[in-house]
């Protein structure tokens, strides 16, 4: 136990020590981590007021989907009677509604990002928060596709967060049934060609979700499944969808089925490919939704899945190339505890490897940024964003800013407005969130927008791109400039975040620094602080 350092607990397993954190940890870093696994789940207060998946969809209906068809009909009528002036007016009106819809969608996501950020900066359970981020990246629903975009954060709250110390089998089923995942990986119209509806409509299976469950969520690409398994699993989950299919009245070409809840998972029995399906050599002859559930439950319990998850977890917390014994131990614990992630994580904390190899991982950009703000004790301006008030406020100026960020943000140029234009508190709040988002995006990791269903990769070579490394250092320096006056003696600050463990070159550079701001810049921008 000699290597159990509080520094490692806070930096490597956590998100960097927030002020006072070492007092909480005391002299028992391992117990501090394990306690976080044992705490019963409760939703962070910052998420109060954010919309559930169902409410998101309902709200969308009233804001957009119910309005455009009416406008379109009016426009078509105007065209039919040759009233082009009126048709143009209605066209403009439709564009406005459309702009409002997309803007609203971006706003909600930005606010969710702000709330997630503040949770990470202020939480007393940073290890648990890391696990949320890890598993959410593993079963990711990135906000990169319009219909699933604004469900990404709700998905994290509903399908991932409650399960990070529970059973992976439960998380997997919750994920595969969540409207965000079903929409993102195209399962909502996947129907068996022999199903009652499929026969009439000449529609068929969409294999996207089935493939990614095998390749990315459970067994891994080397797991030994075949194209036939992809198809069979896809058949097993055909008909897994939601009601209504779109928020648009015209798009909801089915009456509300009995028992369907607005905006929630719904199983369309008449879309499900009938009969037994053979996955990995085992025949599943259940009918209905139970068939796919049984498949997922078995997949979660496969040794290939255990190995794949154990490897990823060890790569995240230990090193790019974790040793085989550790991976095997984690996989064994996972299997012998019936896919219990809490137990697997406990085994990780109790192992020597993560403690021995402190500093061997590079922080991903978002985690780097969070750690800077966390050690400074600087959550975003308003730690209690009131989403409803912002939705309803006239905050057009920052909407425009967010819109510019989001319109095409893989690389987006941001027309930065004069901050003096942002006068109201709400607008300032929004600007701060959007600016932080932009800063992280510029390092190559736009929050909530992983590049695809594989999530963010997690090795050195994924994050040591020259431009990204420099941009992280520049972010640290910018925050140092801003807050140097508040932190007091930089040498004491350094010792406060690395108690007894500050590297010699950094400690002596801080001692010799020409100013407090320079000293803090050197700390936050240092290569040491980029590692964990």
């Amino acid at each position: 136990m000699a290597n159990r350092s509080v520094t490692t607990a806070a930096h490597r397993f956590g998100l960097g020590p927030k002020p006072g954190e070492f007092d909480t940890i005391g002299s028992k870093p391992q117990a501090w981590l394990l306690d976080q696994l044992d705490t019963p789940y409760r939703a962070p207060r910052q998420f109060e007021g954010f919309l559930s998946t169902a409410d998101q969809r309902r709200s969308m209906f009233h804001r957009y989907a119910d309005v455009t068809p009416r406008l379109r009909e009016q426009r078509e009528a105007a065209l039919a009677r040759g009233d082009h002036a009126e048709a143009d007016k209605l066209s403009a009106e439709m564009k406005k509604v459309e702009f409002g819809y997309l803007t609203w969608m971006n706003e909600s996501m930005m606010l969710e990002f702000g709330a997630q950020t503040n949770v990470a900066i202020t939480t007393n359970e940073p290890f648990r928060e890391r696990l949320v981020r890890f598993w959410c990246n593993h079963l990711v629903v990135p906000a990169i596709k319009q219909p699933s975009k604004r469900l990404a954060a709700a998905y994290e709250r509903e399908a991932i967060r409650p399960h990070v110390t529970g059973k992976f089998a439960d998380m997997l089923v919750a994920s595969a049934k969540h409207p965000g995942m079903l929409v993102f990986l195209d399962n909502i119209l996947s129907m068996g060609s022999n199903s009652a509806y499929g026969q009439k409509s000449a529609r068929g299976i969409n294999e996207n979700l089935g493939r990614e469950i095998l390749e990315l969520h459970t067994m891994g690409v080397m797991g030994g499944y075949t194209q036939s398994d992809v198809i069979e699993l896809s058949k097993g989950i055909s008909g897994w969808s939601l009601w209504p299919l779109t928020e648009n009245t015209q798009g909801s070409w089915r009456e509300q089925p009995p028992g369907a809840q607005y905006g929630a998972f719904y199983f369309y029995a008449d879309w499900h490919e009938p009969g037994a399906h053979v996955l990995l050599g085992k025949s599943y002859n259940q009918s209905g939704v139970a068939q796919g559930e049984a498949m997922l439950n078995d997949l979660a319990r496969r040794p290939e899945t255990a190995r794949f998850l154990a490897t990823k977890l060890a790569q995240h917390f230990v090193s790019d190339t974790p040793n085989e014994a550790l991976v095997r131990r984690l996989a064994d614990v996972y299997l012998s505890h019936d896919t219990d992630l809490g137990e697997m994580t406990r085994a990780l904390v109790e192992a020597d490897e993560p403690w021995d190899m402190a500093g061997s991982k590079l922080k991903q950009p978002q985690d780097y940024v969070l750690s800077v703000l966390r050690v400074l004790g600087k959550p975003l301006l308003n730690d209690n964003v009131q989403p409803q008030s912002i939705y309803n406020a006239d905050t057009y100026k920052w909407r425009e800013h967010i819109w510019a960020l989001y319109y095409d943000d893989e690389f987006g140029t941001v027309p930065v407005k004069d901050p003096a234009d942002y006068t109201s508190d709400l607008a300032k709040n929004g600007l701060e969130i959007a600016t932080l988002y932009r800063d992280i995006a510029a390092m190559g990791q736009p929050p909530l927008r992983a590049p695809g269903p594989q999530g963010w990769y997690d090795r050195w070579s994924d994050w040591n791109g020259a431009d990204s490394v420099l941009k992280r250092a520049e972010f640290g320096a910018a925050k140092a400039e801003l807050y140097a006056g508040e932190i007091g003696d930089p040498a004491a600050f350094l010792d406060g975040i690395y108690p007894g463990h500050a590297p010699d070159d950094l400690a002596s550079a801080v001692k010799r620094a020409a100013s407090g701001a320079q000293a803090l810049s050197l700390i936050l921008s240092s290569p040491h602080f980029q590692r964990r």
Binding site: D186, S193, F411, G465, A466, K471
Partner: protein, 414 residues
């Protein structure tokens, strides 16, 4: 903010240049010209582009029956979305008029039914195979990184600024032992001179982070020309192409540049034209992507000016898609697709294809376009005829264990 911050970045770079040059990572970093004037731009369309949509075989009688809603108006039909005819079999997608112009002026070559050697259907594995240039998983480095090491350089060692990834992080194709930079527009104020010097000292002590940190400085000093034309770009891809052109036209600029253009995975509503269609709120898919590709290509060629004559642009993807339309008006992961080569010296205006057709027996696994050419045949030809690499370097180092894949011949005018 852009002008002043970028100017500041340049200032910082100049002031610390002496320090950077003294570093072990850059024994000979200087503003000397690279020994080759040839440029290579690698544009990776990630997500799996449907080759039958990019370069549709319009004359194939089965096309409409297999693909129904995904088939655009026939060439010459006068329809609003008419394909651009290339030859008796192939056409270009309707939303690629600039590519058509390049084809007509002989500057665009199309390779059809091309694929990597990968035969499974995972995006991420398939992209890695393209980036590594081999199916060997053990080789965790990119083919373009190996090219950097083999460029004719008159005995000079490879320099950081010989290869540049546009974007904050490096694609796998550029990762490896040779230095490669990355660049994206600055967003923060830069770190001031004295602090920067001291910070550089700390980074020099870090065996893993010193090279990236100093490479970023190296790219920064070149970025001056990259910023002026960026403001008017209508899409990230156009912006990246504009930036790439600005870097490439510098005499001391990079010789190899990578650009990623992602999200081509089109399982649903692939050919939807409108952002918001009357029946649902799905976004427009491929048509808007093609328009971005088209405007980016125009920006690249225009931005390069006379350097276009020395530039080769490879455009490729990780795999094609299923031949038949799927249950949701999209296509699923497939195998062969189309690749393109553009440039001032390309012997273009033709489609190279050993076309098998679309009958069920001609498809791979009764679902995918059958691969008839390894896309590395095009890569090899570009390295050999354009970048001047030695055959032995191409075969032994850049694409090991690919001797059976002969380079295409005569793809550049001599």
């Amino acid at each position: 903010m852009n002008i002043s911050r970028r100017a500041a970045l340049l200032g910082i770079s100049a002031s610390t240049l002496a320090g950077a040059c003294a570093s072990r990572a850059f024994p000979d970093m200087a503003f000397a010209d690279a020994a080759t004037d040839k440029r290579l731009v690698a544009i990776f369309l990630r997500g799996g582009v449907d080759g039958l949509s990019l370069v549709p075989p319009y004359a194939e009688p089965k096309l409409k029956a297999l693909r129904g809603p995904l088939v655009d108006d026939m060439p010459g039909s006068g329809g609003p979305n008419a394909m651009h005819k290339l030859d008796g079999m192939f056409a270009l997608n309707p939303d690629l008029p600039y590519f058509h112009e390049m084809f007509l002026s002989g500057e665009l070559l199309v390779l059809h039914s091309a694929a990597s050697p990968y035969r499974e259907r995972s995006h991420f594995d398939a992209q890695d195979v393209i980036d590594r240039g081999t199916t060997d998983r053990g080789l965790r480095q990119g083919w373009l990184n190996r090219v950097v090491g083999r460029l004719p350089d008159g005995g000079r060692k490879a320099r950081a600024d010989l290869a540049l990834g546009i974007g904050p992080t490096l694609p796998l194709s550029l990762r490896g032992p040779e230095p490669a930079g990355s660049w994206s527009p600055p967003v923060q104020s830069t770190i001031e001179g004295d602090t920067f010097e001291r910070l550089t000292g700390l980074y020099r002590n870090d065996a893993n982070l010193s090279a990236p940190f100093l490479n970023a400085v190296s790219a920064g000093k070149m970025s001056g020309g990259a910023n002026s034309a960026m403001g008017s770009a209508e899409s990230p891809f156009e912006e990246m192409a504009t930036v790439a052109a600005a870097f490439l036209r510098e005499k001391a600029g990079p010789r190899i540049v990578t650009i990623d253009f992602g999200n081509w995975d089109s399982h649903s509503d692939q050919n939807a034209r409108e952002l918001i269609t009357p029946q649902n709120q799905w976004p427009g898919r491929y048509p808007s992507f093609y328009r971005k590709l088209n405007s980016g290509m125009r920006a690249l060629k225009t931005g390069l000016g006379s350097t276009w004559q020395d530039t080769a642009v490879l455009i490729f993807t990780e795999f094609g898609r299923t031949v038949r339309v799927n249950g949701t008006n999209g296509t699923d992961h497939g195998t062969a697709g189309a690749a393109m080569l553009a440039g001032g010296a390309v012997a273009g205006g033709r489609v190279i294809s050993d076309w098998r057709g679309l009958a069920p027996r001609d498809l791979l696994d009764d679902r995918d376009l059958y691969p008839t050419t390894d896309v590395r045949a095009l890569f090899k030809a570009t390295l050999r005829e354009h970048m001047g690499l030695l055959d032995t370097d191409i075969e032994m180092t850049v694409f090991p264990q690919s001797a059976s894949i002969g380079a295409l011949e005569g793809v550049f005018r001599t």
